[in-house]
Chain length 692, copies 2
Amino acid sequence: MVPSFIYAICFLAIIVAFAFAAYLYLWVKQQKAVNKEILRVSRLIKDGANTFMAREYKILTIFAGVAAIIIFLILPQPIWQGKFLDNLSMALAYIAGTILSAIAGKIGILVATLANARTAEAAEKGIKPAFLVGFRGGAVMGLAVVGFCLLGVMAVLMITSDASILLGFSFGASSLALFAKAGGGIFTKTADVSADLTGKVELGIPEDDPRNPAVIADNVGDNVGDVAGMGADLFDSNVAAMTSALVISQSLTGYEQAGASMVFCYSALGLIASILGIASARIGKNGNPTKALNSSTYVTTGIFVLLSALATYLIEGFDWRIWGASTVGLLVGVVIGLTTDYFTDDSKPIVQKVAKASQSGSAFTVLSGVSYGFISALPAMIGIAVSALVAYKLCEPMGTTYALFGIAMAAVGMLSIVGMIIGNDAYGPIVDNARGLAEMGGLGEETIRIADELDSAGNTVKAVTKGFSIGAAGLTVISLLGAYMSEVNATLASLGRELITGFDIMDPTVFFGVLIGAAVPAVFSAMLILGVDKNAQRMVAEIHRQFREIKGLKEGKPGVKADYDKCIDIATTGALRELIPAGAMAILSTIIVGFIGGVLAIGGFLLGNIVSGLLLALFMSNAGGLWDNSKKYIEAGNEGGKGSKAHKAAVTGDTVGDPFKDTAGPSINTQITVVSLVASLLSSLFVALSIF
Amino acid sequence: MVPSFIYAICFLAIIVAFAFAAYLYLWVKQQKAVNKEILRVSRLIKDGANTFMAREYKILTIFAGVAAIIIFLILPQPIWQGKFLDNLSMALAYIAGTILSAIAGKIGILVATLANARTAEAAEKGIKPAFLVGFRGGAVMGLAVVGFCLLGVMAVLMITSDASILLGFSFGASSLALFAKAGGGIFTKTADVSADLTGKVELGIPEDDPRNPAVIADNVGDNVGDVAGMGADLFDSNVAAMTSALVISQSLTGYEQAGASMVFCYSALGLIASILGIASARIGKNGNPTKALNSSTYVTTGIFVLLSALATYLIEGFDWRIWGASTVGLLVGVVIGLTTDYFTDDSKPIVQKVAKASQSGSAFTVLSGVSYGFISALPAMIGIAVSALVAYKLCEPMGTTYALFGIAMAAVGMLSIVGMIIGNDAYGPIVDNARGLAEMGGLGEETIRIADELDSAGNTVKAVTKGFSIGAAGLTVISLLGAYMSEVNATLASLGRELITGFDIMDPTVFFGVLIGAAVPAVFSAMLILGVDKNAQRMVAEIHRQFREIKGLKEGKPGVKADYDKCIDIATTGALRELIPAGAMAILSTIIVGFIGGVLAIGGFLLGNIVSGLLLALFMSNAGGLWDNSKKYIEAGNEGGKGSKAHKAAVTGDTVGDPFKDTAGPSINTQITVVSLVASLLSSLFVALSIF
């Protein structure tokens, strides 16, 4: 279906990406790592992360096994209706989706737990070498995710020649993302909140103090939440964007081949652009790491725009309107990132205003943060709305289906530079860990200061990449809505029934779906936050037990060690236990609404889910980032500095913001994708069996 | 158009309501009021409330004057296109809408500031007489609002015979509600927060201590926010529900007369049911005031269902399906109220869980409150969704327009008992004030205890009435969406253009509107909360100045009085100043989206606005009520009681919740209605002039 030279470009990009990732991995591995204490702690972190992932993957195996059997039995059509091979392909594609995403996550953890110690030691020599270790460590993850993503989508399509089977692959990626992102998010915040509550608040010992039994779990959390979780999240978005573009391209009569080729070609070019962007990253001797991270993003963006223009010019059938849609998507993604930065950067007025409000007490920290968090959602919502509208209108002259394809290509364009984005994001936990290791390894004040500077850049950039990833998820799910309608109409056509032309909000079944769909992300995030809450209570009890029962631990007697494993264990078990009801609630409500209101209600349900999901995700991520940075701003000596009344209030804000920005907010993306895919996959059942 | 015997029933209901209200007013006035200090303070509160309202009405006169001129010039069609009389009617209807709502608010304040002192003194004799004074005082407001509402709608329709002109009347009511509810909400929370911060937190003096310069402003706030504001809000919802039902009834070919008759007849019967419910309210000597308030609501509900069934049976043309729709609306309203109660009543588990979480610090109070607040939105959203769906499906066999009319009648049904609801709601600030007056008048512990019990019932019932009013607003705006489409199609028909059949979410212009519409309530509430914040800072500075400059005030030297007026002045000026940008933002974004995306984008905009508005309004109102009551639960001696760590955390929760539940949450209703009416009114302009 897709011409072989396009596949060749993809293969080439994948091979170069893997080779480059391997080179970076070896380069990181070769860096100096000699401090015994650092190596010991770094090993503890690595083991902890592996424990969590092993447990997670075990539960996931059961979940995915059951899901694969269900898929095999009923999707795309009930197996007793005859298409055995289609069902088998779908089930296998599903399993492949989970496995490829899991491997990418595993690689990310591997390199991140290697890079953290080496970044800490490199910081002894200055910011330049330390930055490079952290950045290149993150880049390995970025390249692995995008490489596996492209490889998987291509393989499924080459083998089955049916883009609908990709929905199974995409659902596999989403299932994993749900576990990795929401589970990892609960893990990381359980550990973070418990460590802060018992360490900083109760005992007054610094962050990363080795006496605190939760300190290793906290560092593990950064890796499983931000490296593996964020990677799985963007793997999921990227697969979903490609899938929906490819599903819609099947309905572009006469243009199926060119449409699908554009999807693959642009994705491959995005990967190449990311490789060049990563290779070009540089920082001066006393350079600013935030600037270095951002400038490599701009370089990647620029290269992609040029390469994709070149490809559109050279390759027959590639259309400038569709190129325009993809470029608009990418540019809007960058703009969303920048506006997020405005609301969460501590050199900008908003963070400073919240810090100032903290002087009147914690209620005002919370109120002002909530308010600016709500306001911060507006530019991103406008950005997503405008890019969808422009992409549609640009491609509309080619036909209505092309216009939908345009929106999907805007999502593909926005996600083209995702390799770079994941790299920047994974940089965050690596340097965050490095800071902790530098402290625990006793590397001296100057090294800790450098590590701090790298960490602060990580936090700033994380806000930007989060905004970007929510924007990308927004556009992706809009195009998934298109894919859903394509699936519904395919079923209706096969039954000889009248096709649907859309979802009219004046239809009360659609409206019914919209209202319920809108409530789901709110309930989902509430369940995750309450999960963190409950789990943190368990862990705090365990920390108190250790302080009580392990003699000499509290006082820091040499040779007395905390039982770190127990805390990791609690975080792991609890995270997976709290995650499952939330995920089940989202999936079950989709199924219930579908069986009550049918395919029209589900159309509304998806819309409500997308809209309120985007609003809440943006609100929570930005408010969380805002509180985090206003605490740091105060700690830097403003508004009374550390220990002042304002600081105490800011700590409350930060604690509220932690599960907002690292658990609930970014998990909503995944919830939306999961729900959209469940809807598409079950659409034929909803057509057949529904009350209204 | 409507037969005269229906109008006769309405007139009769209005006359009985006004006569009964006059009787209750005189009864309240006759109650004992002899304590000099109480009378003095009560007079201060009355004067303060009148100052605010005078200032508010002055600004409103300018605003309404300008709006009336604009309406006269361009609505329903530009005046240069010839229909001078229509434009004049519209402008006059608009002015009538503001004036009637203002008069009702004025009456409410009059009786509330009379009843507060008398309730306090009656409490010396026991809970039974005190309850009656408070309840009957509130009932006057309820009867006045519904009476004026019915009178106004009837008058406009009798004079113009054109339901579209009612949109002008409804917009007038909304304009007033925006000022009264959002302005009053900012006022009341400015005073409350400042009084708490300086009194309870800084000085450790009790609530309602006369040394605090903000204490009168705080009591004034209860009246202007909860009596006048809530009254204007429900006046607005009630008018909007009747208006949209009447606008849609114009398109019921052959059924216009019966449809309109049902709207009027049901509204009149609801008023009669409320009168009977109010008259039947009783409480035993040691009775439970919450039960008494709730049982009179149930009595009213039961009477209305019976009366409306009787009318449907007796009157020719009245249809049982439409009666069913109205009954479903009413029952769902009651259910929403009950679920709200579950989340906010301190004898139920949720409030107790939040109180327990407070033991770990204020961040956990906030996190658990936010989480349960989000979850609490779900049952109400389901309730609204189900009632709209059932109402539609019930009436669908009669035709699609009947189905839309069914939804509008569900809203009319839900709002039929609004007289009772407003009465219960206005009871709250009366007894709240009475509690303060009992303290300031030195009426002794037992009297204060009784006043406290009455106050606590007021808080519980307030949560229920708020849930109810949000539910009612939800159904109302759904039917306003129907009214909007009717208006658009009327314009398109007059231009000979193709009619629209709905708003398809797959159309990117609609989708564009949805995303932006969804962001507006978030930004609107953020602006109001920040407004409270800013205004409270001004007032705190003033209180500090008074403590510094008025010698002996802090120490409570006899004869030294605080300058209460200055605080009232700050609250008044600030409230109106902070409100205007938020209102302008909502109206302007409607206009901008309309001129960019045209009528389809506005359809989406309204949907997004309704959905996210409902979600946020429910979240904020319920979370606020939840925090308030968990603070009270701790103060009653649980989880460590007053002064404990948990109590401090709960105070933070309560302070966060105050502007949530009394400023932003309930103002979102009004914002949605205003935006819906602006959209309907300007629809012909959007048809004529838009980019896409």
